[in-house]
Symmetry: C2
Subunit: 182 residues, 2 copies
């Protein structure tokens, strides 16, 4: 039995533990954006994500593409995999999860969040913000927000957008690799 | 340092080793469909995938959603993660990979293959075939084949389609769980 392993840096949960309570969407997004910022400080991509199950933080993730060498390892995927690992087999019953993403999902994470039982999506920076600094968000369906909403996944956009935009810009200003680029 | 782990059943590489040479697309797809069939025999989802780097088989995968409890664990994702793990950090330079999929990719794998350095996609069963037996392939962009081709990823469809269709049907006839269904 071989296995595929993605190492999770310990600092992610340390940041979560050292943060204050997250009673509302704004506090949850503030933590999510902070994770993206801390990832940049450690040489990672400028993206963070968190997953909440009702009022409870279930999992946090950051973009680990560069350290893992795996293109799947976007922040949303890491957070959703961790959430499902925490839920165990119950994950396949598709509980009602809320995904917070510091930037709107790319074409890969757009698809993945649908299968993962996400029932609400909250985003900070927009697709255009990511593309403005050079990231490629890929081919999502036209009107992707409407597509999600028709599937029962309401989308809230631009919560703490300017903070998340600052993190995207700071990554590029530091000379960060735009690894998603074709 | 925690980690995310996806266990790979040993039989996948045993099937690969016990198969004959794969000198052309048809032989490669025959192996890919065989993996999907063997997965059904072991209670897994009816999907297989292989990744070739030039003429060399780099990685094989099957759908591991049910055993892993992770919705990301589609056959294509497993094969692409394994291929990237085999390539190491070179994976991020986006080598020219060919992905064989026993069924056309869902909305998640459609996006993931773009970031993974896939430069050619070969499929057996169609999206409609999967949906005809009850699977949800999710919201891909309209004209998703054209979208991939415009990104430099030519798509060959319906290679050994009827064999792959039989595997999809056999899964449903055995009472297999349609876990991707919303």
């Amino acid at each position: 039995m071989a296995s595929l392993v993605i190492e999770l840096p310990a600092w992610v949960d340390e940041v979560v533990s050292s943060s204050g309570p997250t009673p509302d969407d704004e506090a949850r997004m503030a933590l999510t954006v902070r994770l993206s910022e801390e990832n940049v400080a450690r040489g990672g991509g400028p993206f963070g994500a968190t997953v909440f199950f009702e009022e409870r933080l279930l999992a946090a993730g950051v973009n680990l593409v560069l350290t893992s060498g795996l293109s799947i390892a976007h922040a949303e995927i890491i957070a959703l995999m961790r959430a499902q690992a925490a839920l165990g087999r119950a994950a396949l019953a598709r509980p009602s999860l809320t995904l917070f993403a510091s930037t709107e999902p790319c074409c890969q994470c757009f698809g993945a969040l649908i299968w993962a039982g996400v029932r609400r999506l909250v985003c900070a920076a927009t697709t255009a913000d990511a593309e403005a600094v050079g990231f490629d968000e890929g081919p999502k369906p036209e009107a992707w927000v409407t597509v999600l909403e028709r599937r029962g996944i309401p989308v809230q956009r631009e919560l703490l957008r300017s903070q998340a935009q600052r993190v995207l810009r700071s990554y590029v200003e530091r000379g960060g690799v735009i690894y998603g680029k074709a």
